[in-house]
Each structure stands twice: as structure tokens, then as C-alpha cells.
Amino acid sequence: MVRTPTLWEETAALMGGVAALPEDVSALEALAADLPPDAASLLKGFTNPHYVKMSIVGLKIFNTALTSILERRAQGKKVAFYCFNFPRELLDAMDMAPVCTEAAGIIPVLALGCEQYIDAPINAGLPDSICGGHKASVGMIIEEAEMKPDVIINAGPGSCDPNAKLHEWMAETWEVPIFNLDAPYYHDERSFQYYRREFRRMVEGLEGVTGQKVDYDRLREILENSNEQVELYWEIQELKKAKPYPLSNIYCVLVELMKYIWSGRPEAVEYFKIARDTAKDLVAKGEGAFPNQRARTLWTYSGVYFDMELFRWLEQVGVAFVQDCFGWYPDKVIDTSSIDTMIEGLADRTLNQPMTRQHKGAWDGPAGWAEDMMFLSKELDIDACIYSGNLACKQTWGCLRLITDKLKNELGIPTLRLETDILDKRITPGSVIKEQIEEFISTLG
């Protein structure tokens, strides 16, 4: 009897098809034409002609990452689930199969739709107000038990209740150990010191329960790649300031996915290099990544992911997706000279991840949401902000007006409030989101 491929296998296979493509838009478009709507929309998001090379490298990484996890799993390595605000580099150096909970669901949703997976956790009794980012992942596990975690890391309880609580639910329901790292409410030396102790406690515990030790030579290697990524990231942040905007809108989406699923690997470095080189070329020529640019936008939450074609559509209507909050990584290069510096560097980086940073007072806290959004708006010369209003996100909805008013009153930047589930197209369809964005852009004058 032939076993039905799991969602991950199916997704990996699809991405494998992309990996075989030549580097031109028409090949991507031709493949898209043969695929079901969700997969087609995904590929269409990657069709900026200047960035085909970057896009294909990015899509290939989906395949590589998924395949690698499946392989390690098959070899009996432990599957570690972690929230996206945790650096996968550590787990990679422990030879685990590291699965970013959100990406585990997001990637198949992007590729294959799969609403039945989104609904499964609700049918299992969980409140429907949990995040779409987890519904798909949990649903997938409910339906296809084989992707269950062996261990879970909860890196910032208190920054997002639905997120942390769902990780606790997974641990309890599947009876797997969980490590909760307490992220302090402040952004000072005392907090970083505290969190480093949390992080060490977690590393020790993780080694204990999995029997898989950190290979520090391997970690050094991975972190050196990761450091190169960080340097490229900052270089690209500088290039983003150019007008017209020199990057494809898909760049930001992939930056996040790189972080979640493949950070510290040579392919991820390559991705950033191609992005940097392409942008640099365009800037040198005084060209933008797409014509008729009308607005430089900052997405004060994340993008909307269930319809990836949106990112290409934005380019077609002249809107640059310059930055989003979830793609804002104020990372530093990690000193790889000793085990201590590496662990401390990783701990500091974790406490600085998107969402964990918002644990603190979003409005008046140092390095909080407001401060970050104000900084990015000025730094990147933003014309308008778009809040992609993920309905599950209580903590951002709960201080949205404070942030919106601040951007409006202090910088004259308006914000569009969308009301969506960033992964479930049934809440607000892509067509409606496009209408709302067009409407908003028309008021910018």
C-alpha cells in the first residue's frame, strides 16, 4: 500500500520542483500555471524579474530545510520545536531536527492552502482566538502524528500569551519536555544577565533530556555563517534607504523564513549575498526594483502570507514593502572565541528577537514597539504604515492606537489598519486586502 505523503513531504516535493528551474521569470510563471491556486500564488510572489536568482535560491532553501528535518528525524535525531523568536543555530549544532513551530505550519499553508489543518486544533477544543501561525502547525500534528516534537523551547513567555500558552499545551498534550525561558520586562544589563542564566539552564536541560550535546566546533562554524548573514542584513538595511527602492518586496518575507528555518547555513548566506549584490547593482544604476514607485511602507506587524502573490502585486501598484516588525532583527555579530561568548551571544540575540522585544512596555518601554517603529520610519524614510492586524495578536491590537497616534502625531505618518488572519484566507480574502491597500494608498496624495 502506498502511504499518502505528509504535508511536509508534499511541500518539500513542490519546492524540489522549483529548485530544478532555470533562473528566469518565465520558468517560474510556467510552473505556476500548472499548479493549484495556492502554490501558484506562492510562486507568483517571487516573480520580480530583477530578483529571480534570489527567489529561486530562497525557494530551494524551503526544500533543503524541510528535507533535512525529515532526514534527521528518520535517523532518530530529536525533533525540537521552537518559537520563531529563538535562534535555530543552537539546535542545529546539537544535531537535532529543529522545527520552527510557526514555519512548520506557515510553509505548507503558503504552498498548499490546507484549511483543514487550520481548523483541526479548534475541533480539538482549543479557543479559536489562538494564532493562525500555530493553528496550521498543531493541526498538522493532530492529523499527521509523525511530526510530533520530542522537546519544546518556549523562549519568551509573556511576550505573546497565545504563543507561549500554545507551546505549553503542546508539551502537555504530547507529553514532551518543555523549556520556558523567562524574558524579563526590561532592556538593561540586569535583564540580559538574567536571561543568559535562563539560556544556560535551558542548554543544560536540553542536553540532559535529549542526550544530544552541543558540538561547539560545529556551533562556531554555524555562528560564523550566521554572523556573515548579520553583516549582510545590515548592509542591505543601508541599501534599503535608496530611492527608488532597490529590493524586491519578497526579500523581507524570505529574510524571516531564512531566520526561522535555515539561519547559519551557507545557503542562507548565499541568499543574503545575492540580495545585497542585486540591490547594490540597482542602486549603482539609479534604478528601483520595480517601476512607478508611489509609497515606501513599513508594516508595523508582519506581512500577510496566505496569498504570497500580494507581494508582487504591491510592486505592480508601486508600493514598496520596505520593512516589517517581524523582519526587524537588531542582531549583533556573535563573538565566537569561546563557548561562553557564543552562548551569551545567542542568549542576548534571543532576548532581542521580534515579539520578545515587545514583551516590555510597547509604548514607553526602551526598545519597545513604539521606539522601534519610530526609529525604522525615520531611518528608512517611510511614507505610510500598514498594520496587518492579525486577529490573534492581542498584545499589538491592544496598543495599536498608541503606536498609530505616535507615528501620526510625531512623524505625520498614517497607518492602515487591516483586520486579518495572516495565514487563513477565509477571514479576509486577498482581494479585499488589495482593495483596502489601494484605498489607503489613494489617500496618501
Binding site: E419, E438, E439, S442, T443
Partner: protein
Amino acid sequence: MIVAGFDLGTLAAKAVILRDGEIVSSEIRGIKAVPEKVAQDILDKALSQAGLSQEDVVYSVSTGWGRKRVPFANLDMADMPCLAKGAKWLIPSARTVIDVGGQSIRALSINEAGKVLEYNTNDKCAAATGRFLELVAEALELKLEELASLAAQSKEPAKISSQCCVFAESEVVTLVNEGINLIDIVAGVHDSIVRRLAATSGTIGIVEDVVMTGGCAKNERLVGSLGKQLKVDIKTVDVDPQLVGAIGAAVIAQEKASAA
């Protein structure tokens, strides 16, 4: 110079004809047929009222949900700029526009030059819109027009807690069955709408003068209570408030034609 503005909303289509900056005729009709046909019908009707023909119109702009389905319009524009333009044209001191139409609530904050600074719309529910009032009127077997004056007579408005159109309708029916006075139910419905409108518009920060437009601005009880709730004096326009978007479209048409 003769120009036209169209606003094809979800429930009603409106046309306005301007001649040298004056409104010469207008037409409002419920949308039942295909939008293209309705647009043509209301244009014909408005033109004939003014004794004009389609050739006289030098420029026309369409707006609203069906704005892309007005084949003869020179330009289609999104709702917010047209609403802002229309309100500002009618009441130059307007800084906040609260438009409550058939299925939408839109609150706009505009600056002195008429630029939209921020706006907020109703969330994904038709509660507190015209359609909601219609549903309540149907459920109570009343005419839409008599709701405001009935509500005004209530001394003890009923408590309507539901935040959802569908639930509120069933809640209204429950109240009727419990023997609550019709007048108090109607007043309670108005109060619940006002709370929603206050939250939707309050989010953008209320700056005077505040202008209320859209079909629901015809309901004096809503306008009055909302003003009280927001602690401002709400102005209304001296034309049919449903026409404001179409007027804005026509004013934009005039600007485009003059610039050409």
C-alpha cells in the same frame, strides 16, 4: 463646465451633476440590477432633470464599491478621498467625517487642506450600519423612517448587549417576547449603535468640526446621541447626506477637467 460624480455603494447608487461648481441635479437608487445598468440609469435620470445630455458632461469620476463598473467614467477613485473631498466642499471647516452607510462605517480625520490623515472603518460586521437598522425595522415591523422619532420618546432605553448584527436581531426579538416596550427597544438599538460608532470614530481622535454623512445621518436621534457620546456638536450637510461621496467625485471631476 458640466461634470458628473457617481458613487456605487453596496446598497445604493448615487449620481451628482455639477455645472460650474453648482449642483444642478442628483439621483439615488437602490442597487438591484447590474451596476453598469444602474449607473447608466441614474446618469440619464440626473441629466434629464437638468435638461442635459451625456455629451454635455466633460468629465466624470466614479467611486464606491462598484466604481470600476461605471463604463463611461473617466476615472475611478477610492471612497476615502471622495468622501473627504465632498464633506470639505460642503462644510469647509470639517476635520472629522463620520460616514455611516448601508453596510459600512467610515471615520476620517482630515487636515485643513482636506488631506486624509487617518481613517478607521467598521470591523467585519454590519452591526451599527444602515443595514442593521433596516433589519431591526423589519424585525419589529416598523418603517425605517419612523425609528428615530420612536426612539426619541423612550425614557428607559432597553439594554442591547450583543455586538453582532445577527445576535442583536435575535436579542431584539427576545426583548419583544419579554414584553419590553417597542419604543424602549428601538431606543436601546440606537444606543448600541451609538456606542459602536463612538468606538469606531473615537479611535482616530475626534477633531472638530465633525460632520456626519451617509444615509444614517438622516436619523436625528443617531446624530444627536453620537454627538453627546463624543462630546461634540455634530454637523450635518444641507443636501441628502447619502450624496456626499458622489459630490466629492464630481468635485474631483471638476478639478481634473479644469486642470486638463
